[in-house]
């Protein structure tokens, strides 16, 4: 069953996945593009090291964004076929729902490995294409591991959301949007009258908790540096 689901998912997403693999491979190469262009035969100047680190900083945001994009794409495409056919095929199978869901999820997670391999290869090629200044190290393997876990997390979160009913999804999304929009307004208004609310901001606290340890999306806010000290 796992193989069938894997094949089905692959068939559905292969074109998009190919693009995402190319993006994953190209991102580290783009990030190091133009770096390490020292005069041949000369040592890399110390100023280069600053240029490396600062030049790389601008690209850091794209790694978690790409990971999230891949995870979300995989998750939504995993359920797309079931939603279109009103889940008739799944219901006709001689297996429980949780088994079906688990195998479907594992199939999607397997596909997540493909762009991670692209990122891993791209990172190694990128690092090999430049001469690193003294004091800097490359972390292609670590970057690929972080990329994998970030994709898996985004995939799992959206897989769970897409697995539920439309009503549940609307509730979840509505609650998040409601918290972001009305929470901020309510906090500002309350903060004007009650000193306590001018110091504690509910929305920001929630975001902080979600984005940093031990929150669920901590892996996205960690270090994404391919090159660092």
């Amino acid at each position: 069953m796992y193989q069938s689901l894997l094949f089905l998912h692959w068939k559905q997403i292969r074109h998009v996945l190919a693009l995402l693999v190319v993006a994953s491979f190209a991102l580290p190469l783009l990030a190091v593009h133009g770096l390490g262009s020292a005069v041949p035969g000369m040592d890399v100047p110390s100023l280069e090291a600053y240029r490396f680190v600062s030049g790389f900083q601008a690209w850091l945001i794209f790694y978690p964004l790409l990971a999230a994009g891949i995870g979300i794409t995989l998750a939504l495409s995993a359920w797309n076929w079931d939603h279109q056919l009103k889940h008739v095929y799944a219901l006709s199978l001689p297996m429980t729902r949780w088994e079906y869901t688990l195998q479907k999820m594992l199939a999607g997670a397997t596909l997540a490995v493909v762009p991670v391999l692209g990122m891993w290869l791209g990172s190694h090629v990128a690092v090999a294409s430049i001469s690193l200044p003294e004091g800097l190290n490359a972390y292609p393997n670590e970057l690929a591991v972080r990329f994998l876990f970030a994709i898996l997390l985004a995939y799992a979160a959206f897989f769970a959301a897409a697995a539920g009913t439309v009503k549940t999804t609307l509730w979840v999304v509505g609650s998040i949007l409601g918290l972001l929009v009305f929470g901020a307004i309510a906090n500002d208004v309350l903060g004007y009258y009650v000193v306590y609310f001018s110091r504690v901001h509910v929305v920001e606290s929630v975001i902080q908790w979600m984005a940093y340890a031990p929150g669920p999306f901590e892996v996205f806010t960690g270090s994404w540096s391919l090159i660092d000290v």
């Binding site: 005069v39 100023l47 090291a49 889940h87 670590e142 769970a160 920001e204 669920p216």
Partner: protein, 379 residues
């Protein structure tokens, strides 16, 4: 005003339409279109007038609100703070907290005593304050986390206090130049030390604390004659490193270009030295930010009154001033600074293992939620 303009516009439109109706004929469609087109500039004019009127009303409302804002003057330790009367308690508490946490132990500051700060949490109209002389104004628009507000207030006070070192033209002030009371994070200092190609920074990272002082130009400051600089260059950089520093620099001056060519294209290391001495702004391997971190450490070590001591004797060399402020010898201070530096090495992926573990647990949790969907529940 707005209604008058709109009424004029409507009247003009009606008039034009009436005229067109009076002359109406099946073949006059073009005439009608031309008339309507001719009204377009009038519409634009009316819109502009309405916008101008609205802007004027906004300005008037803002001025009226500003005139009604009552301002309190607070005295918090050495600080004088202006703030709207209705925010006095909160502002006082904020500045007192920052003062107690970061500045109280440093001793008095003449620059702070001379300074005036203005602070307002802005919801409506800005605080109508004009500060003559050395004023420091901080507006906070909408909600900002308290930690960030405190950081900004700390920076404001630190920046004002740093005038103590600049005002008396002390050697330590010239050596550090920047804002020693608000140093950059240790991780950034480490990055700078680790990425500087210099034999002394390598030695510094390897544990030779004396080399850290040399890399900061601490021990030789103000003795730097030209000859001394040449000696220093050899002390700071290997010939290859000196040549590499020249490689990264370009000047359009003909003499600079000639020196640069001699340096990079021949084995003439003296050309590299001459180029660096003539055309480099600062030759020391480590920047002012690194020096600030040493001063900040000295102040922390010195505790009570350390800032006052640092600024007290402008004639002291940086080494003497740091020893006087911290109460430690420069060797002890540099040893502690080096230990602090190494302890704060930013390990890029060190937290990856626990972070990945947590991500995996969250993934399992989401998977469990997915398996509990209500989509297939019957009835």
């Amino acid at each position: 005003m707005k209604s008058v303009i709109l009424a004029a516009f409507v009247a003009a439109s009606a008039g034009a339409t009436a005229q067109v109706s009076a002359q109406a004929a099946p073949d006059s469609a073009e005439v009608l279109r031309a008339r309507i087109d001719s009204l377009t500039p009038l519409l634009e004019k009316a819109r502009r007038a309405v916008d101008e009127r609205r802007a004027f009303e906004d300005d008037a409302r803002r001025l009226a609100a500003a005139a009604n804002t009552r301002v309190d003057t607070l005295r918090i330790a050495d600080l004088t703070v202006l703030t709207p009367a209705d925010q006095a308690d909160e502002t006082s508490e904020l500045f007192r907290e920052v003062w107690e946490e970061s500045f109280a132990h440093l001793g008095g500051s003449a620059a702070l005593a001379r300074s005036v700060f203005a602070y307002q949490q802005v919801w409506g109209e800005p605080l109508p304050i004009h500060l003559e002389g050395g004023g420091h104004v901080l507006y906070k628009d909408s909600w900002i986390p308290r930690a960030r507000v405190k950081r900004d207030v700390r920076r404001l006070i630190a920046g004002a206090a740093s005038h103590d070192l600049r005002a008396n033209r002390s050697y330590v002030g010239q050596w550090v130049r920047g804002n020693a009371l608000d140093p950059v994070p240790w991780e950034d200092i480490y990055r700078q030390v680790a990425t500087t190609s210099s034999m002394v920074t390598r030695a510094c990272l390897a544990g030779e604390s004396e080399a850290c002082g040399v890399a900061m130009a601490l021990t030789v400051y103000n003795e730097a004659t030209r000859e001394r600089n040449l000696e220093l260059l050899a002390e700071w950089y290997t010939p290859e490193e000196r040549r590499a520093r020249v490689t990264g620099r370009f000047f359009y001056r003909r003499d600079a270009a000639a020196l640069r060519s001699r340096c990079t294209e021949t084995d003439d290391i003296s050309a590299c030295d001459q180029f660096l001495l003539q055309f480099s702004y600062d030759l020391a391997p480590l920047s002012f930010e690194v020096r600030e971190s040493l001063v900040a450490l000295a102040l922390t070590e010195g505790g009570e009154g350390s800032w006052q001591r640092l600024a007290e004797h402008p004639g002291m060399t940086p080494t003497e001033a740091l020893e006087y402020a911290s109460g430690s010898s420069i060797d002890e201070l540099l040893t502690r600074w080096q230990a602090e530096l190494v302890a704060n090495r930013p390990d890029a992926f060190e937290p990856l293992v626990p972070s990945s573990g947590r991500a995996f647990l969250w993934t399992l949790l989401f998977a469990a939620l997915a398996m509990r969907s209500t989509r297939w529940r019957l009835g």
